[in-house]
């Protein structure tokens, strides 16, 4: 197992390098640059800016300097658009926001989704099952950019209970709507995966044996059925977790939370090269890490899997 983890981390480094090179090439091939503006800068002023940010050097040199700074100093460079801030600063301030609402969304999506799925499976073909399935289908077809305005109309404009957006240091009132809007579709998927996988497990031979042995329903479900039933859910949770904690541009835009999801998109529009790269690397790193975590969880849940 230990060797397996080491091996996976070993693969992660070249993967990240490929990601960096690939993103760098795509980014540089987009028309315009960080200093392109409605009023083109005088040539000398533009040159001074390019010298300051090292953009006057050949591409391969820029790329090498970039990687060297990250490896030796963990320095992702200055932002070209927000000139008195570094990429490290931007991520250090934006990522905790995204992480906060992401983790809450994850907790909500998993707890509600899994419970809903289990209940629906146990009460298969009852009104509870139909309600749960109905709920999850409607939650899934309602994308968050539709969900968000609906929430605002209800909770802000009509009831006046919650602020229509902002972050304000992460007070709970500001968290409620982003968390609901972000988690519902994940919640729905989790519920449906749990339900169908639970149904399959409940109909399997070893559960029939357990029933024949006269075990109580609670024991059967929690001790025997749940673990194997969660296997497909776990597969889904890895990418879902990364998806939630790396932010959603819709949530950030709609609730003006200040998370990195919006930053990622605006940096691309601004051609803020270093910010684009920084967030890409962060997302890449997290994806690799959580895939690894999922693999480890697999081994724990399913004794058949050995690395």
């Amino acid at each position: 197992m230990f060797i397996f983890i080491l091996k996976r981390i070993g693969i992660a480094i070249p993967t990240l390098l490929v990601l960096i090179v690939f993103s760098f090439v795509i980014m540089k091939s987009a028309p315009g640059g960080p200093f392109t503006s409605e009023r083109p800068l005088p040539a000398q002023v533009l040159l001074n800016l390019e010298i300051k940010y090292g953009l006057d050097k050949p591409y391969h040199e820029q790329l090498i300097n970039y990687v060297v700074d990250i490896v030796t100093k963990f320095d992702f460079g200055p932002s070209f658009r927000y000139k008195d801030r570094s990429v490290n600063d931007i991520i250090a301030q934006g990522f905790p926001i995204t992480l906060t609402y992401g983790i809450w969304s994850f907790v909500l999506a998993v707890s509600v989704g899994v419970s809903l799925g289990i209940v629906a499976a146990i009460k298969h073909n009852s009104w509870i099952d139909y309600t749960a399935v109905g709920f999850s289908i409607s939650a899934q077809v309602l994308p968050n950019f539709v969900m968000a305005p609906i929430l605002v109309i209800i909770f802000t404009l009509t009831l006046g209970w919650l602020p229509g957006g902002g972050w304000n240091g992460g007070q709970w009132q500001y968290l409620v709507m982003p968390v609901i809007a972000l988690s519902t579709s994940y919640m729905a998927s989790i519920a449906r995966i749990t339900r169908s996988s639970m149904l399959e497990v409940l109909n399997s031979n070893f559960i029939r044996t357990a029933k024949a042995k006269g075990l109580s329903n609670t024991q059967i479900i929690f001790k025997h059925a749940l673990k194997p039933a969660l296997l497909p859910v776990i597969t889904y949770l890895g990418p879902a977790f990364v998806g939630m904690i790396t932010g959603s541009v819709v949530i950030d835009m709609y609730f003006s939370t200040g998370g990195i999801g919006q930053m990622f998109v605006s940096s691309a529009l601004n051609r803020d090269y270093s910010v684009i790269m920084g967030i890409t690397i962060l997302m890449g790193f997290l994806t690799i890490m959580f895939n690894l975590v999922v693999d480890i969880l697999y081994a724990w849940i399913d004794p058949k899997i050995r690395y």
């Binding site: 009023r39 005088p42 300051k52 926001i97 404009l157 602020p163 229509g164 957006g165």
Partner: protein, 540 residues
């Protein structure tokens, strides 16, 4: 970015020694102030910086004008008033300017603001090591050696600015600029604290490090979410400041911002296109529309890479005539915008809108004339004109372009293809003359017609359509040294109305929803919208 103000007014007063009254929040007698003096407003995007020598966007400059104070300020009408400088004087035929600084100006840490602070900051602005995107401002201010310093040929210490004593700033120019004093209201000329900048480097603008000399200090900043500025008790005129706290919330989408305004979370927000009449009806005391120094236009590509058809002046005129501006302003935008028949907005100081012929015709007459011109140019049903209209991706631009294309099709049978591009791609394509007809928007850098008309001179870097006319060039060059250039501007607009290198569509308005308790103190008459929170106040 907009800044230099009332050039003409300044040129009249620039040569005499001047002491003007100080203006702070001008609360009329008998007005009862609200207990909570917090002003919360929406900004479209995260500001670029609050470093005076680095900032380059409008919302950042708004912050800098609150956090720092330059030599001079503008009042609610855009007229120059003292800032850190109490008085100023031009001598040596407008080649030397002397500013007398007030002795009670302090930084937020209690240190006095001295002439040396301005010398440092101006040298810092020109220094190629700073790489300020506004370094060129020192050049257009005509400071001695500015261009050489920006080019790295001379040391920043050789810039034409000096401090004979702590309260005297002397500036030497290479050209006699009558309006020089007005240029010191531009954010890039504001002082930055040398000690703090050198101690913290680029981190000096963080709330925990920043030291500033304006009416407010930066107390909180969450990038892309909010910035908070609060009263600076060391500000020399703090006793006459009313607003205690200013909160800028970043809300990218204007419809979302409007929702939050209606939920009572904001004191000011922009009104999305088309919604002004309804809002004005529902909230007559909160909806506000006032003229701004900005023009919306379509440029013809008349360069070699442009379509052959647009080299024919009759085609350009026909397209301009057939565009019914009132449909755009009254049925699409609905925010009190003004139909444009000249490039320069009528609200510009000392600009007389010329009686251009096509502005006086009725739309029916213009349509008839357009058809005639089009026929004469050889375009008809069998040989329709066809071209592409390029704009940057945005709902509002799309609406205007669709309406325009429809009119040209119906009235002139032209086949117009609409094309939109993401902002930076659009800028690059337009800058390389890779278009037929392209959308443009221009806001004046200062309140004077040349900020618009210079765009159409041959050497201008902003002349995307590559229009070139020797007479226009000469008139605009002469205007720089003329005592009253307004005739030149009128003549240039007449030439433009004839040659139609661009189609003026409309002149912008600022369209806001603003809390009924603060709307009365908003400087609607400052067409550049250089506003200072210290001049505002909330009533009960």
């Amino acid at each position: 970015m907009k800044s230099i103000t009332k050039i003409m007014a300044a040129s009249l007063i620039g040569s005499t020694f001047l002491v003007a009254p100080v203006v702070a929040a001008n609360v009329p007698a008998g007005v009862e102030l609200a207990a909570d003096q917090t002003f919360t407003y929406r900004v479209l995007d995260e500001h670029s910086s609050v470093d005076p020598q680095i900032v380059e966007d409008v919302s950042g400059s708004e912050l800098v004008r609150d956090l720092f104070e330059g030599l001079l300020n503008q009042d609610a009408d855009g007229v120059l008033i003292p800032g850190v400088a109490e008085s100023w004087e031009a001598s040596n035929g407008n080649l030397t300017y002397t500013f007398k600084l007030r002795s009670d100006a302090k930084w937020s840490n209690g240190d006095p603001v001295t002439a040396g602070d301005f010398v440092y900051s101006w040298q810092r602005l020109a220094d190629p090591k700073t790489a300020s995107p506004y370094a060129w401002f020192m050049e257009i201010m005509s400071l001695e050696n500015a261009s050489e310093i920006v080019a790295g040929e001379k040391e920043p210490s050789e810039l034409g600015v000096s401090a004979p004593d702590d309260h005297t700033l002397v500036v030497n120019l290479t050209a006699p600029l009558p309006y020089f004093a007005a240029m010191t209201t531009h954010a890039s000329t504001f002082p930055s604290p040398q000690k703090v900048v050198e101690e913290f480097g680029t981190d000096w603008t963080k709330p925990e490090n920043i030291v500033s000399n304006g009416a407010y200090v930066l107390t909180e900043h969450v990038p892309s979410e909010r910035s908070v500025r609060e009263r600076n008790p060391n500000y020399w005129n703090d006793s006459e400041t009313v607003i205690d706290k200013v909160v800028a919330l970043v809300i990218n989408d204007e419809n979302i911002a409007l929702t939050r305004y209606l939920a009572g979370e904001l004191d000011r927000t922009e009104v999305p296109a088309g919604q002004y009449p309804d809002l004005k009806k529902k909230y007559p005391d909160q909806a506000l529309s006032f003229p701004k120094l900005c023009s919306y236009y379509y440029s013809f590509n008349v360069s070699d890479s442009g379509p052959e058809a647009f080299k024919d002046v009759r085609v350009r005129q026909a397209l301009s005539y057939a565009l019914d501006r009132s449909v755009v302003t009254e049925q699409v935008l609905k925010g009190g915008q003004f139909p444009a028949f000249t490039f320069t907005p009528g609200a510009t100081a000392n600009f007389t809108v010329p009686d251009v012929a096509f502005a006086k015709m009725s739309q029916a007459e213009r349509d008839a004339k357009a058809k005639e011109l089009m026929e004469a140019a050889g375009y008809n049903a069998d040989n329709p004109l066809s071209f592409e209209l390029l704009y940057n991706t945005s709902e509002a631009h799309k609406k205007v372009a669709t309406v325009a294309a429809q009119m040209w099709k119906q009235k002139l049978g032209a086949e117009v293809t609409l094309a939109n591009q993401e902002w930076k791609v659009f800028l690059e394509v337009r800058g390389k003359q890779d278009f037929d007809l392209a959308r443009g928007g221009w806001c004046g850098d200062y309140n004077e017609a040349s900020t618009f008309l210079d765009l159409l001179t041959t050497p201008s870097g902003y002349n995307d359509g590559k229009y070139s006319n020797a007479e226009v060039d000469k008139l605009m060059t002469d205007a720089k040294t003329a005592s009253d250039p307004s005739d030149n501007y009128t003549r240039v607009e007449e030439i433009l109305a004839n040659e139609m290198p661009l189609i003026p569509v409309y002149h912008y308005t600022g369209v806001y929803m603003m809390g009924a308790d603060i709307i009365g103190s908003w400087p609607v008459k400052n067409v550049e919208q250089n506003w200072y929170s210290r001049d505002l106040y909330k009533v009960k």
